[in-house]
């Protein structure tokens, strides 16, 4: 016996969340070929087929691209500092891809590490994630390579699996999820078909060993030569979380803010002395892959990537994690051939 909801009932439920004053966001088809996770004020704006993967991720609803940390005001030699108020609005993210939701337990580890980030923690508490299993995937989708699937549960409070006839099977995975869909589901005899994802693209273990043992491999020069040093990959990535803290204001008042950064920017590791330990793009590209596939796993036990493919999809030069790992995979294969011959 399965729990199910019709598309119409789901839309009505969403409109009721909105009228209750909750913030709702999900995939919106903005213009031809462009789908983004955006806040909505009407359920009909939401696009609930998985034919287009949003070009962004849901991290901005928990870790905004710009956030005020505190405000300050000078009064002679004195300064008054006030913490920015924490958010209070309940948020529901609906139609989230499982590879986006899977980023939340991964990012929880760093945002609640030796110190808990108050803003992230509060937003996490206020947010309920309703995922939609993917019935389609494209050439960039790589979730299965990293242990996920089109109907993965990680990070999700409620998983909707399409029957294909305008109904969704509803799996409430957490108490938050149960509270949200309480009374909204109907019983159905059959289960929805389990969607299959892409085949695994490569074995991650030899790649991780390569990253550990061949830090100075020349492969990075080839990748760095094509990289244009923008922040697109980091910004669209569900798990990238580097940020820059700056002060904005004038001689009397200001705010200390936190903005998304990117390890691919030339200035990312620029020291005040003028020295830059990662002064060329090869070093910067290496750093991103090392962080995601070796350093973060060593420290936190999980790969800092869910295989969503957004980096490669959005990269102006066709790089991203998929290209880097494929290149390393090829390098390993070539050296194995040489060793065997």
């Amino acid at each position: 016996m399965s729990d199910a909801i019709s598309h119409e009932a789901l839309m009505a439920l969403m409109d009721s969340w909105i009228s209750q004053g909750r913030a709702v966001a999900g995939p919106v088809a903005l213009k031809s070929g462009l789908c983004l996770y955006l806040p909505i004020v009407q359920s009909k704006r939401l696009r609930l087929d998985t034919s287009a993967r949003p070009r962004n991720s849901i991290k901005e609803f928990l870790f905004p691209k710009h956030e005020t940390l505190c405000t300050f005001a000078f009064d002679g030699k004195d300064v008054e500092v006030a913490d920015a108020p924490l958010p209070e609005t309940e948020t529901i993210l609906c139609g989230v891809r499982p590879c986006d939701a899977a980023s939340l337990p991964i990012m929880d580890r760093v945002f609640q590490w030796d110190d808990t980030d108050p803003s992230y923690a509060k937003r996490r508490e206020l947010t309920t994630v309703v995922t939609l299993a993917c019935t389609r995937y494209d050439v960039y989708c790589t979730c299965t390579t990293f242990g996920y699937s089109p109907s993965a549960h990680e990070g999700s409070d409620v998983l909707l699996v399409p029957y294909g006839d305008g109904h969704y099977e509803v799996f409430c995975l957490t108490e938050k999820g149960e509270n949200l869909f309480n009374g909204a589901v109907q019983p159905l005899d059959e289960s929805a078909p389990v969607p299959t994802g892409p085949d695994k693209r490569f074995d991650t273990e030899p790649i991780q060993a390569f990253l550990r043992d061949q830090f100075d491999a020349p492969v990075w020069s080839e990748i760095g030569a094509r990289c244009m040093s923008c922040g697109a990959c980091a910004h669209v990535c569900p798990t990238c979380h580097c940020f820059d803290i700056v002060d904005e204001g004038n001689a009397t008042t200001g705010r200390r803010v936190r903005n998304w950064d990117s390890c691919q920017f030339a200035m990312f590791t620029m020291h005040a002395s003028g020295h830059n330990p990662r002064s060329d793009q090869a070093q910067r590209q290496r750093q991103r892959i090392q962080h995601k596939f070796r350093m973060y796993p060593e420290r936190f036990g999980s790969i800092l990537c869910t295989g969503c493919g957004n980096c490669t999809r959005n990269c102006p030069a066709g790089l991203g994690v998929l290209h880097a790992l494929a290149t390393i995979d090829e390098t390993i294969a070539i050296s194995q051939d040489k060793a065997n011959s």
Partner: protein, 281 residues
């Protein structure tokens, strides 16, 4: 055309006419072609040409590993060749160090091809070799700056402001637009300066407006409409509409079009007493 390109490249490398070729290689299945820089004649088979060769390769010319090779060949479409002309006018590249391989282009495919709808340089000018012939496709029939003109004529200032507020709100300050632009070659970009800060780095409406309007002004009379900024924007912001507006203004007020004549002084690089000033009010 691909075979011709590969043979020409092999010949140029083998004869020592150039010490490298900056061109396009196949990307992932169905995706955009990617940049490749080959220095060995045996690698010419990697060069390709198709309707997914979107990138403006002129943006790579400032790279150390490319500059240090001396004279190189570069594969260009009409829009790319115009970008190179601007770089030559601005003393950023030495024409003598480039062998331009012009590709006749009927347009690069939708959905990013708004720039191709009103293109009139299907065969690149001022190049050393031309490969292929343009078929004079229907894409050339639209009037240049048509989209900009309707936007300016049909929408009130309040409507245009509302449009840009919605578009620019999505910007995350990834600077992909700057990274792919051949004209953005400043060693220290104004947005990276912080003593003092001129443009907020924050992705607020203020920070986003300041960045995009400043960049549009810095491109006045320099933007050739290669369309890369709009193509690469992860937030899908219609940057072509913004950046080409001042190109339109340069043509309208000063009869100047970027990248068409290497002998002409850049429009914001010179002043004549007869320049009209009636738009300053």
């Amino acid at each position: 055309m691909i075979k011709e390109l590969q043979e020409l490249s092999r010949s140029l490398l083998e004869r020592g006419v150039v010490h490298g070729i900056l061109g396009y290689a196949e990307g992932a299945s169905g995706a955009a072609a990617v940049q490749i820089f080959i220095t060995d004649a045996k690698d010419v088979d990697k060069l390709t040409w198709n309707d997914r060769c979107f990138s403006n390769l002129a943006a790579y010319l400032s790279r150390a590993e490319i500059k240090q090779r001396g004279k190189i060949g570069i594969v260009v479409k009409g829009c790319d060749a115009r970008a190179l002309t601007v770089l030559i006018q601005e003393s950023q590249v030495n024409r003598a160090n480039l062998h331009l391989i012009g590709m006749a282009c009927d347009g690069v495919s939708e959905p990013w091809a708004a720039k191709c709808a009103d293109c009139d340089t299907h065969v690149p000018a001022m190049v050393d070799d031309v490969i292929g012939q343009a078929s004079g496709s229907p894409q050339a029939s639209k009037e240049r700056y048509g989209a900009i003109r309707s936007f300016l004529d049909e929408k009130s200032p309040a409507e245009r402001m509302a449009f840009w507020q919605e578009e620019l709100a999505r910007c995350t300050k990834c600077y992909a637009c700057r990274a792919v632009c051949p004209m953005c070659y400043c060693l220290r970009c104004i947005v990276d300066k912080n003593r003092p800060t001129t443009i907020d780095t924050s992705a607020t409406l203020k920070g986003n407006f300041a960045w995009h309007i400043t960049r549009a002004f810095h491109l006045a009379g320099r933007c050739v409409g290669c369309g890369e900024c709009a193509r690469v924007c992860p937030a899908g912001i219609d940057l072509g509409l913004l950046n080409q507006t001042l190109a339109h203004a340069a043509e309208q007020h000063f009869e100047y079009r970027a990248g068409c004549d290497p002998e002409k002084m850049p429009v914001i690089g010179c002043f004549n007493a007869s320049d009209q000033e009636d738009f300053i009010r």
